[in-house]
Symmetry: C2
Subunit: 329 residues, 2 copies
C-alpha cells in the first residue's frame, strides 16, 4: 500500500509499484545478541524487517511515524526500535470510544548523538525458573490490576514529561531516579495482577539493592536500573562511571570465562579496577555474596542509530547458506 516505484541511480524504474505484489522476498536475519532472553530481540527483529521492507519497496509514510505503527503490530516495542537515541511510544487513542488505538506510534525525543556519555550495562540474568504466568502478560494486568489504571492515568504521563526533560537536559540524577521508580512501579502492577506476574527474581533484586547502595555511597545517582518483562538488569550510567559500576557488578557476579563481557578490552579494564573498600563495605550490607553463574553475560553498550542499510556487498546473499555476507564489526 505504501510501496512506490523503485528507481535506480540513473532514474530508470527498476520495479513498478504494481509489480511488488508479484515478487517474493528472501529474508536473512540474525541477532548479534541473545535471542529470546528478554532483551527485546523480537522488537529488534520486527523493526529491522519493517525498515528493510520499507527500504526495498521505497515505501513513503503518509504521516510521520506511520512505519512505527506497522512495526508495532509485530511486537509492541518494535515501534521504538525504528529510531535511534531516546524514543517515546505514544499512547494514541484519539478515538477511545471506538476502541481505536491505531494512532499509537513512536516518536524520537533525541537522537543517539544528543547524550553521547550515556552508557548501558546489561546483565543477562540466568533464569532457571519457568514462569507460566508471564505468558498471560499485560492484558491480564489491564484486566485485573486495580493499581494499573491509576498508574496509567495519573502517574505515567507526568513521569514521561519528567524523563523527556531530564534526557534533553542531560540530567542524569532525574533520569536515573525516574527510571528506577518507574521500573519498580511497572513490576508492582505485574505483582498486583491476578494471578500475579513475576518477571524479576532474587538475582534481579540483588542488583537493585547493590545499585541503591552504590548511589548512597556516591552521594549521587551514578547508576540506574530498569527491568523489562524478564529478570535481566539494564543499568544506565555515564561514561565516567561505567568502569567503576561494571567492576562492582563483576565483583558480585563473577565469571570464569573471557567471553563474559561482550567487549574484551573493557573486560580487561574492569578486571584491573580496584574498588573503594568503603563502597564494598556498603554493598556487602545488601547481603549479596559474590557467586558465579547468577549472571550469564554482561553487555557494555550505548544507544545506537536505529536500523541501518547494509552496503551492497554486505547485503549479498551467499547462495550456499542463504545468509547475507554481513559480519558485525
Amino acid at each position: 500500500q505504501l510501496a512506490t516505484d523503485r528507481v535506480d541511480d540513473n532514474g530508470n524504474i527498476v520495479v513498478r509499484k504494481q509489480d511488488w505484489s508479484e515478487m517474493k522476498v528472501h529474508v536473512s536475519s540474525y541477532n548479534t545478541f541473545p535471542t529470546a532472553a528478554g532483551l527485546a530481540s523480537s522488537a529488534a527483529g520486527y523493526a529491522a524487517l519493517v525498515a528493510g521492507l520499507a527500504q526495498l519497496y521505497q515505501a513513503k509514510e503518509e504521516f510521520e511515524g506511520q512505519l512505527t505503527t506497522i512495526a508495532r503490530q509485530g511486537s509492541g516495542s518494535a515501534c521504538r526500535s525504528l529510531y535511534g537515541g531516546f524514543v517515546a511510544w505514544r499512547m494514541g487513542g484519539k478515538n477511545k470510544e471506538q476502541d481505536d488505538w491505531s494512532d499509537s506510534l513512536a516518536q524520537q525525543i533525541a537522537s543517539e548523538q544528543h547524550w553521547p556519555e550515556l552508557r548501558a550495562i546489561i546483565l543477562v540474568v540466568s533464569d532457571q525458573k519457568k514462569d507460566t504466568s508471564s505468558t498471560a502478560g499485560m492484558s491480564t494486568s489491564v484486566a485485573t490490576s486495580e493499581l494499573l489504571q491509576h498508574r496509567a492515568t495519573h502517574i505515567v504521563p507526568k513521569r514521561m514529561e519528567q524523563i523527556e526533560k531530564a534526557y534533553l537536559e542531560k540530567d542524569f540524577e532525574t533520569f536515573g531516579r525516574v527510571t528506577m521508580a518507574d521500573s519498580n512501579q511497572f513490576h508492582a502492577t505485574c505483582l498486583d495482577t491476578y494471578p500475579p506476574i513475576f518477571y524479576m527474581n532474587d538475582i534481579s533484586r540483588s542488583v537493585i539493592r547493590i545499585v541503591h547502595a552504590y548511589n548512597a555511597w556516591a552521594g549521587e545517582i551514578r547508576a540506574a536500573y530498569t527491568f523489562d518483562a524478564g529478570p535481566n538488569a539494564v543499568l544506565y550510567t555515564l561514561e565516567r562511571y561505567a568502569i567503576e559500576l561494571s567492576a562492582l557488578m563483576l565483583h558480585y557476579y563473577p565469571s570464569f570465562g573471557d567471553n563474559y563481557v561482550n567487549n574484551p578490552k573493557f573486560l580487561v579494564k574492569i578486571r584491573s579496577t580496584q574498588l573503594d573498600p568503603q563502597l564494598l563495605e556498603a554493598t556487602d550490607r545488601t547481603g549479596r555474596t559474590p557467586q558465579a553463574g547468577d549472571v550469564k553475560m554482561i553487555y557494555y553498550t550505548k544507544s545506537g542509530p536505529g536500523p541501518q542499510t547494509l552496503s551492497t556487498k554486505e547485503a549479498n546473499i551467499d547462495p550456499t547458506t542463504g545468509l547475507n555476507c554481513y559480519s558485525p564489526p
Copy 2:
C-alpha cells in the same frame, strides 16, 4: 491510669489502685513458635504483656478496644492479637487535621468459633538474604509510593468490607481471592517504595505459583496465600483440604527430619497421602522442583482465642530460673 483496686475472692482489697505505681513486675515470657522470623512474635508478645498487665492491675477500659490502642504502641499489629478469631485493625483518624490517629483500634469481627473449619498452614521460608531496606518499612512506603495512597483510599476500604462479609458468610472463595489479591497488592506497594522494599523471595513466589496452579486444577479456591513483612507463606484452607494442600507443599518443599511439621500426627498423615498425578503435572509446570532446605518448618494451626490467663499453678515462677512453670500442651 486504667488500674483499679485488686480484690480477692472474699471481697478484700489485696492491692489498692494507688499502690500499683510502687510495685515492681516480674515478666516471664516465651514463644512456642520461632521468634523474629516474621511470624508476628513481637505482636504476640506485646499483646500478652498488655493483657497480662491489664489483668494484674484489674484495668477497666474506658471504651471498647482501649487496651488494643495501648498494645498498638508496642507493635502495630499487637492490637489485633488481643482478640481471637478474625480481627480488624481500624484506621482511626477522626481528627485527621490534627494528625491524631489515637482512635485507631482493633475490633473483633467474629470469634475463633465462628468458622472452625478454617486452617492455616505456615511455611517458614529460609531467608539467607539480608534486606537492609526492610528496616525502613512502612513509613518509607507512605512517603514515597505513589500507589500506596490510591490503595489506602480507594481499594482497602472496599476489600475490608468484602473480606469481613466473606468471613461472616464462610465464603472461602471470596475470602481466599481477596486475601491473595490484597497480599500481592501490599507487596506491590512495597516494590513501588523508593528505594524498593522486598519481603518475598523466589521461594515465596514459587509457593504463590503452586497455590494458583492448585486452585486452577481444583476449579475452585482451596488455598489462599498471604505474606506479611517477610518471606514466610501463610496458607489458608478448609479442614477438608488441609491434608491435600499440606501433602502438596511437602512434595515441593521436602525435609529429612521428623520435626519438620509442628504436629507429628499430621505429618504422618500427609506423608502417606497420594497426590493426584494430574495435580502434580499442573503444579510441576510452575517450574518448582522439589528441594529440601528452602522451607525450614511447616506449622499446621488454626485461629485461637487470643490471650488466656494461666492457672495459678502454671503461673508460678520457678525461683531457680525466674520462669513460670507453664509448658504448652
